[in-house]
């Protein structure tokens, strides 16, 4: 059910481009119920039930198991206007992956639409209608490519049947071409616009009867189309959350507890209220820890302009009760993590007998790796605009998970969910931060207190860095036992890191999602492997950050492999391939994993850990990078490989370490096996960008805490890679696959191999071993 906007659309359009407000086109005149009945289904369609004839082109994914699953319903996603304009609804959020283009592109190709005549509109947060919308976990293409094709094919077949009916010929005599249906061997032809009305009156083909195009007929799938929003972006007309403008809207900023879990003791708003333009000063109620995605509380200044709100905030005097996290100190915490990692932890994987093998080993090598907290620092800060009046809430937000935001808004405001609407704007970066709707709730609360005035809540960059849902901080300690022939016979990996779970419930141990990201899923062909997890309490909100636990895990494991290779006098690549072992599909039951392996929420039999594919990306990256070539002094190549989000990625970094310790990266070669590459150019873009984000976290990213307070605040002390020193050339090599090799994740898996590849290259260049991030380049100065 789509809720109508109660803010007059005319008003909105007067002050902002129409694209900011979902329009209401005419959708196919087929009721959702009728379509689902035609499918023989009453709810979300399960792909696994499709006919055997198409079995090779159909496979189960985790999409069905997501909240509200997959909806395959052309009525919801496709509309054709008499002039031939095809409107496709994008139900996943656009934060830079290109998904708002790529999924409609798949549908458009399958239905035979001309991309030039396709219009895309953005779905509001409404999972019962659209299926799961949580744009996270690198899931969009892998969960939705099949449903987009089925819907596109259903529409194409209806258009063909409409043409056949109009011409009085059997449907076999007609054929959809590009945006038109033609009579085979005849002269009659009709455009999609002409046929739309008749097609709409036809029954939707049952899923078992839907015939997909042959792969050879793909025009856009596997080839790509330009970004739908390109022109809007380059002309400044694209609407992000911060660009929403409503008549009479006010602008708000807030101060929040400097320590997580802190509360407002008292505040003096007099000076703030005296600032010209300030309308009101309002306390936002906090939420007791663990606060999940509810606001952390604080004091907001609402004003006629953002500037007035900022000026007012400067004048605000607030006394805080810091609470129990005021002692959080990153240095002390690191020492504790290290101590905990030195002791046995909870066993989460136990294969063979590690203790015995370590005792019997000729040599034991141990290393410990550290990573601090990181903030997402999306270029567009968290923000949202809301109107709450007459028992309803309407919100515009750059939301990765708009239905989750809608549910949280309903909960916080005490409204029925049907009385809450969440419109999804473009996102100026997401990286996991915008999966949480705390900022939208703040906006809604202020609008409610102000009697329904539209309010835009904007976090400043300082708020963003100081009050994030931080990437965890971690110590990863690995011990390897080596026999007298130089074989690794034992591998013990202990991980200590505050868990994401602690944001939702008291928790000191990591949960299967974190454990499955490069810890218990370690693919090495080593007889004795034990993974342990030591407990530690969080003192800040821990959240998802692009690639999540894979970042510290790949850093530790891939650097440690390079250390072992060096200690044993082996070539890193050859040694890595030996550790990976022969090509095979791992059996999780033989790996000694406690409980079930979390396989990114997707069925293991479809997406197993395939060491053949892992080996292949190592070979490809090394071949393209010229692994083994002679390097000038203080230059080196470094290698790392990691499977995450079901995708296999290897990177080889070339570095030059200057005399002052500055590390330059002339080139990175990344080999990617993400199954069928649906939009190769956007895939390449994701991996180019991942190289930059990987370099940023390698050299810059650290949010540290003293007295419970973040020590960094803005881009001057939480720095990003810039064009003064960036990976000069990132070459992305995509392993070709047919459609029948299921597409896997793209948005995240590029990040994890970058830091270890760089660190290993630095060792090759300087002999300096890197075991902590971000890298202190002062240690790399030439003596």
């Amino acid at each position: 059910m789509q809720l109508r906007s109660f803010v007059e659309l005319g008003d909105l359009r007067g002050s902002m481009p129409a694209s900011a407000v979902p329009a209401a086109p005419t959708f196919l005149n087929v009721s959702r119920r009728a379509f689902l009945e035609a499918l023989g289904l009453s709810g979300a369609f399960v792909l696994a039930t499709a006919s055997a004839a198409r079995a090779a082109e159909t496979w189960p994914t985790g999409g069905d198991a997501m909240p509200h699953g997959l909806v395959i319903d052309p009525k919801v996603f496709v509309a054709i206007a008499p002039d031939g304009t095809v409107t496709i609804t994008a139900h996943r959020s656009e934060m830079g992956t290109g998904v708002r283009t790529s999924l409609p592109m798949v549908l458009a190709d399958e239905m035979g639409a001309d991309w030039a005549k396709v219009k895309i509109i953005q779905a509001p947060g409404d999972e019962p209608t659209y299926g799961n919308q949580d744009t996270d976990g690198s899931r969009s293409m892998r969960h939705h490519i099949q449903s987009m094709r089925l819907m596109g094919a259903a529409v194409r077949m209806m258009l063909e049947r409409a043409a056949a009916g109009a011409w009085g010929v059997p449907v076999e005599r007609v054929e959809a071409r590009v945006h038109e249906v033609v009579e085979k061997g005849g002269t009659r032809r009709a455009g999609y616009g002409e046929l739309a009305k008749a097609a709409m009156d036809l029954p939707v083909p049952a899923i078992k009867d839907i015939v997909l195009k042959p792969e050879s007929a793909f025009r856009y799938i596997g080839k790509g189309v330009p970004l739908y929003d390109m022109k809007a972006i380059v002309t400044g007309k694209a609407i992000y959350g911060t660009d929403v403008r409503l008549p009479g809207m006010l602008f708000a900023v807030a101060v929040r507890p400097p320590v997580y879990g802190g509360k407002v003791k008292s505040f003096d708003a007099r000076a703030a209220k005296a600032v010209p333009g300030v309308v009101d000063v309002i306390e936002i109620p906090g939420t007791p820890e663990p606060a999940a995605f509810m606001p952390m509380g604080g004091v907001a200044v609402v004003a006629k302009t953002t500037w007035a709100a900022l000026q007012g905030r400067e004048k605000l005097k607030v006394e805080w009760d810091d609470g129990p996290n005021a002692s959080y100190d990153s240095d002390a915490y690191r020492k504790r993590m290290s101590e905990i990692a030195a002791r046995p932890g909870k066993v989460v994987r136990n294969q063979g007998d590690v203790e015995k093998a370590l005792a019997a080993a000729a040599k034991v090598i141990t290393a410990e790796y550290y990573q601090p907290h990181m903030a997402h620092a999306t270029m567009e800060v968290p923000n949202a605009t809301a109107v709450v009046k007459n028992g309803r809430c309407e919100c515009w937000a750059p939301a990765q998970s708009p239905y989750a935001v809608r549910k949280d808004l309903a909960k916080f405001l005490g409204l029925d969910i049907k009385d809450v609407t969440v419109h999804v704007t473009l996102l100026g970066g997401g990286f996991g931060r915008k999966s949480k709707g705390d900022f939208a709730i703040e906006a809604a609360y202020l609008s409610k207190v102000l009697g329904g005035v539209p309010v835009q809540m904007m976090w400043t960059r300082e708020d963003d860095i100081r009050h994030g849902y931080y990437h965890t901080t971690s110590v990863e300690r690995i011990e390897a036992g080596i026999d007298d022939k130089g074989k690794v016979i034992a591998w013990r990996h202990r991980s200590v890191a505050p868990t994401i779970l602690s944001t939702f419930a008291p928790a000191e141990y990591q949960f299967p999602i974190e454990l499955g990201m490069g810890l218990v899923d370690n693919p090495f062909d080593i007889p004795n492997i034990r993974c342990e997890n030591g407990p530690i309490k969080n003192h800040v909100r821990i959240g998802w950050f692009r690639s999540v636990s894979n970042i510290p895990r790949a850093f530790a494991v891939q650097c440690f492999v390079a250390e072992l290779a060096h200690a044993l006098g082996r070539d890193h690549k050859e040694f890595l391939l030996e550790l990976i072992g022969p090509p095979r599909k791992l059996d999780p039951l033989e790996m000694g994993i406690e409980g079930e392996l979390w396989n990114y929420g997707d069925p293991y039999e479809v997406f197993p850990i395939d060491t053949g594919r892992l080996r292949a990306v190592v070979e490809l990256a090394c071949e393209k990078a010229g692994w083994g070539r002679r390097m000038p002094p203080r230059s080196g190549l470094g290698l790392a490989v990691h499977r995450s989000f079901l995708t296999y990625v290897a990177s080889v970094a070339e570095v030059v370490v200057e005399k002052d310790g500055t590390v330059r990266i002339p080139r990175i070669d990344t080999a990617v096996d993400c199954g069928f590459p649906a939009n190769p150019e956007r895939i390449a873009a994701q991996f180019e960008g991942a190289a930059v984000m990987g370099m940023t976290l390698c050299f810059h990213s650290a949010v540290t805490f003293k007295n419970g307070r973040a020590e960094q605040s803005n881009y001057h002390d939480y720095e990003m890679v810039r064009m003064t020193n960036f990976p000069r050339e990132v070459r992305v090599h995509i392993v070709p696959h047919r459609y029948t090799t299921p597409a896997t994740g793209v948005g995240e898996p590029g990040v994890p191999p970058i830091a270890p590849a760089i660190a290993n290259a630095i060792f090759a260049a300087t002999g300096k071993r890197i075991r902590e991030l971000p890298i202190d380049t002062r240690l790399l100065r030439e003596a």
């Binding site: 609407i239 500037w307 270029m379 190289a691 810039r722």
Partner: protein, 151 residues
């Protein structure tokens, strides 16, 4: 007291405090939202505009400083997207999320207005003011080069 200046070729008057950074006047009063907030301290370049043809950071340039001067924002560069820099951006598929790109484009346009054919080092130096968290630098660099030389 209203402050007058030329904005994208038109005379405008803004009734706002003179110490207000022009960023907020553009976004919150004039509803020109193509110029983005990123940091507020002149550290990220997202708010890059042209003041008398030179790239400046709108978050640190105060309204009183632009009185009587010529301001160009992304909305005034070429509304149809046909400026060589915009065309190069589209051709090379530079943007990912796109949020910083208006600032990047304004920076690149100012650079090329000053130097027809900048060296790689000059491109790096000029563009280093602007952060792209998606990491589109390789394509940004190539697009500046394309806009300058057509290749």
């Amino acid at each position: 007291m209203a402050i007058g200046f030329r904005l994208n070729g038109r005379e405008v008057r803004v009734d706002a405090p003179g110490d207000m950074p022009i960023l907020w006047a553009l976004r919150d009063i004039l509803n020109l939202t193509g110029t983005k907030y990123g940091c507020g301290i002149g550290a990220c370049g997202a708010c890059t505009i042209h003041l008398d043809g030179k790239a400046v950071l709108a978050c640190v340039v105060r309204l009183q400083e632009v009185a009587g001067r010529e301001v160009t924002t992304i909305e005034g560069l070429d509304p149809d997207g046909n400026h060589p820099v915009q065309r190069a951006w589209a051709q090379l598929g530079v943007p990912q999320c796109g949020y910083c790109q208006t600032g990047q484009i304004m920076r690149a346009a100012a650079l090329l207005a000053e130097k027809k054919n900048p060296t790689d080092a000059e491109i790096d130096e000029a563009m280093a003011v602007n952060i792209c968290r998606c990491g589109c630098y390789q394509r940004i660099h190539a697009a500046v080069r394309l806009a300058a030389t057509g290749v």
